[in-house]
């Protein structure tokens, strides 16, 4: 095996660019819309470029063109990509194929769908070294070596596994191993931590950072998450509508953004530690919602045990937990959508039946639920007017002035009245979520249960929705805000309940919990969350390079 670039990336001088992009333009067929327009970038060995943008900004298309790969119906029409001093575009398919895996590798967003379900790990890892001499023991040794480097077992039993036998974090580590196995000069990472919980994400990011340094590999890290990029990247390029609107050293871009869009993105990132949203004007003494000793499950397995939660009038309580913690089950039990629970649920002093169908119409009106995915929460066959009016009619009777009801609900959700005539397909994700909110607030409920309602949205939209919810709360509405995002908790809630595998491990005012967490789990959660404020001084990923400017270190120091 020839390993001309391996391990010694830093030795030739850090100034050597692993990849240089000049004036790259990619268009979509047949509309000829520019998906990426006139983009220029450089990434040096051992460094990571954070490519930040919201959905539809063209960042993934740009990432894939670094491998000379275009999705169906796209074409590169202008520009050059220079990879390790050689031109990448305009090469024959066979030549590009030889470069892939060896000069440039790709780590996909969702390893669950990017690993072949029908092939064992051994095959999938070994074939990434496709240009190695056949039958050599070198391939096997290299496979095991790289598995050790990403902290996975390297025994035969593990190599004989199929992807479905791994956890999500392990699958992503395999994908990382598969990319690094050929010691590439450049590695493109397409939101590789989406779908992982924060603890796993922290470990995966640390692995990526360490490997790019050890190998002297240049990294292009595509993400929509400013906080993650701030933690990880040496340089940041911000993409908007196919163009790189700002580009520079991470520290400079984060501290003094020059483009308004960058500034907007940065403002939208929620801060981890605050004292929480200010208490609402006059918090009522008595609890609006009181849950005591709730136990819920599916079949025989219990998902929740001994849950005690209280929401006072006009208060926002955050329910914080990672996937599988049972937070959605709790929210749905309260909403009457999950019937298999025992324990006491009192709303305004009266018990709530397990099934929404057994509750009084007044109870159903006063407790409203907003769903996570705005693309699934609205019936695509109904107009916004019907979406708001039909539930209203069902709960509160036929209104005298339907237009007034719709108009007012839309106004409370900060949407123009003209949107009543639209259908969901004519709305963006954020607008859809606003319609969901309008539908819920139309009947003037007292309690709004929000189930991860911002997780499917871009950060800037997320910030707007949070602002809207705070406004509703100031008007006296109580909120139960379910989220996995600890940073959002600080921004909206007064009190927080931390859920971990079915139990509430910590419960108290947001300021207290955030600054003096008592439970180990909460502490770990706060430590693993990329924190924007800390990024450059305290982030563990950056600590090693403090004072190492200019960043021309040799690998692995």
């Amino acid at each position: 095996m020839t390993t001309e670039h391996s391990g010694t990336g830093g030795a030739g001088g850090g100034a050597a660019a692993a990849v240089r992009v000049d004036g790259l333009t990619v268009i979509g067929r047949p509309s000829d819309v520019e998906i990426v327009s006139d983009v220029s970038l450089t990434v040096r060995r051992g460094e990571i470029l954070g490519l930040v943008g919201e959905s539809g900004s063209g960042k993934t298309t740009l990432g894939l063109s670094l491998l000379a790969h275009g999705k169906r119906a796209t074409a590169i029409t202008a520009g050059t990509i220079t990879l390790s001093g050689e031109d990448l575009l305009g090469r024959s398919e066979a030549e590009v194929r030889r470069l892939r895996g060896r000069s440039v590798a790709y780590i996909p967003q969702s390893p669950a769908s990017a690993l072949n379900p029908a092939l064992r790990l051994r095959v999938q890892l070994a074939e990434a070294l496709h240009d190695a001499p056949a039958g050599g023991g070198g391939v096997d040794a290299r496979v095991r070596e790289v598995l050790r480097e990403v902290a996975l077992p390297d025994d035969d039993a593990f190599l004989a596994r199929y992807p479905h036998q791994l956890s999500g974090g392990q699958q992503q580590r395999v994908a990382i191993a598969m990319a690094f196995i050929g010691r590439p000069d450049l590695i493109v990472l397409d939101e590789p931590t989406t779908g992982l919980d924060v603890t796993t994400q922290a470990h995966v990011l640390a692995t990526i950072r360490a490997l790019t340094r050890d190998y002297g590999t240049a990294g292009v890290y595509i993400s929509h998450d400013m906080a993650v990029v701030a933690d990880l990247a040496d340089e940041i390029a911000v993409m908007y509508d196919g163009k790189v609107v700002e580009r520079g050293p991470a520290r400079r871009v984060l501290a003094t953004p020059s483009h308004p869009y960058t500034a907007k993105l940065l403002r939208a990132v929620p801060l981890l530690k605050t004292t929480g949203h200010a208490e609402a004007a006059a918090p009522g003494e008595d609890a609006l919602l009181r849950v005591r000793g709730l136990r819920a499950g599916y079949g025989k397995a219990d998902v929740l045990r001994g849950i005690d939660v209280e929401v006072r009038r006009g208060e926002c309580v955050a329910l914080l937990g990672e996937s599988g913690s049972g937070k959605t089950t709790l929210a749905r039990s309260i909403a009457g959508l999950h019937r298999r629970f025992t324990g006491e649920v009192l709303f305004d002093g009266a018990p709530l039946a397990a099934s929404s169908y057994k509750r009084t119409a007044e109870q159903r009106r006063r407790v409203q639920y907003i769903f996570q995915n705005p693309y699934e929460a609205l019936n695509p066959r109904k107009s916004v007017r019907d979406l708001i009016l039909q539930p209203y009619t069902h709960l509160a009777g036929r209104p005298d002035d339907p237009d007034a009801v719709v108009g007012e609900a839309l106004e409370r959700a900060a949407l123009p009245a003209a949107y009543a005539a639209r259908y969901p397909e004519q709305l963006s994700g954020g607008e859809r979520q606003r319609v969901s909110i309008a539908r819920a607030v139309a009947t003037r409920p007292d309690l709004l249960i929000c189930d991860e309602i911002t997780s499917a949205l871009d950060v800037s939209v997320q910030a707007e929705i949070v602002k809207l919810l705070r406004g509703l709360q100031d008007d006296g509405m109580a909120l139960l805000f379910v989220t996995h995002n600890i940073a959002l908790v600080s921004n909206i809630a007064q009190r927080v309940a931390v859920l971990n595998s079915g139990e509430i491990v910590e419960y108290g005012p947001v300021g207290t919990v955030m600054s003096r967490p008592e439970h180990d789990y909460t502490r770990a959660l706060i430590a693993d969350t990329p924190d924007f404020e800390l990024s450059f001084s305290e982030s563990p990923l950056h600590r090693t390079i403090q004072g190492a400017e200019p960043r021309t270190r040799t690998a692995g120091d």
């Binding site: 929460a377 109904k382 539930p391 900060a414 707007e464």
Partner: protein, 298 residues
């Protein structure tokens, strides 16, 4: 248009909202194959409908010697008893079309209701419907029809019932799958959370979202019904002599195929064109339906 309320940063309403995607039927019509299908199937159905009014002879009238191709005053000669092939051809389509469409409609309606109820209400009902389905599916449709008609005798209403009954489980399966996809979505949960009755959720939230697959099924079932009924007639288990019917004509005249090919070729061509046309339309609908469903799911 009122201005957006300013301070929450809501997107200002653009001058014109983005256009709605085209509906299923219009999208389907955009495909060349749909147009071709409508033209082909339309021509055959037109022949079947106006045929009886323009035919030169009555379908049972004897006009010449049997199995001749050169009888004066006939276009395609005579059949095996000496009736005008062309007149029988013109009379022989409308029962086929009528019976096929009726059976397909009944089968799709029954299957849609069963499948939707099974997919949404789940539990015992789902088990029962799906198990019963599996049993019915163990019979090829044709064999089931033959089995029952061998005892009760060939009757038109029986054909409709048998074909509808054998379509229903197949449609139910598709309707159930489609329902499961819709039920997973939160807008159904949203209606449940405010206590909208189950039947209204089925009619108002689910049904409008599975019209695509159901329309495709209807097209498919009409295609298959035409084929099945023609096959039954061809086997002598459909309409009975002396009625003029395309399937029956094929059955009656196939022995003399080499002498008088028209009496077989005309009805075979009509049946083939009708099914091809119907299938082209179905394919157009299916393509449109897939495209639209993808659009909805983001």
């Amino acid at each position: 248009m009122t201005a957006a309320t300013a301070d929450t940063g809501a997107p200002a309403a653009p001058a014109a909202p983005p256009a709605r995607g085209r509906g299923l039927l219009r999208t389907a019509w955009g495909y060349g194959r749909t147009k071709a299908g409508v033209a082909i199937a339309g021509a055959v159905v037109l022949t079947a409908v106006i045929g009886p009014f323009v035919s030169p002879y009555a379908p049972t009238e004897l006009v010449g010697i049997p199995n001749a191709t050169d009888v004066d005053g006939t276009l395609f000669g005579t059949d095996q008893v000496g009736r005008d092939v062309f007149s029988r051809f013109l009379h022989g389509g409308y029962t086929l079309v009528l019976v096929a469409v009726t059976a397909a409609l009944a089968g799709v309606a029954a299957g849609a209701v069963l499948g939707m109820a099974a997919g949404y209400l789940r539990g015992r009902l789902d088990d029962l419907v799906m198990r019963a389905n599996d049993m019915l599916l163990a019979f090829p449709q044709l064999v089931l029809a033959l089995l029952v008609m061998s005892i009760l005798g060939p009757k038109v209403w029986l054909i409709v019932v048998l074909i509808a009954v054998s379509h229903a489980p197949r449609v139910a399966r598709v309707a159930r799958e489609a329902t499961l996809r819709v039920v997973e979505q939160d807008f159904v949960k949203s209606a449940e959370a405010i206590g909208v009755p189950r039947w209204r959720i089925m009619a108002g939230e689910i049904l409008p979202n599975i019209t695509g697959p159901l329309l495709v099924e209807l097209g498919l079932r009409i295609t298959y019904s035409v084929g099945l009924i023609a096959t039954l007639s061809f086997l002598g288990m459909g309409l009975q002599p002396p009625i003029a019917d395309w399937g029956l004509m094929i059955n009656e005249n196939r022995v003399v195929l080499t002498v008088q090919p028209w009496s077989v070729a005309l009805p075979v061509a009509a049946v083939a064109l009708l099914t091809i046309g119907a299938n082209l339309i179905t394919d157009g609908l299916a393509r449109a339906s897939i495209g639209i469903d993808r659009g909805v799911q983001k």
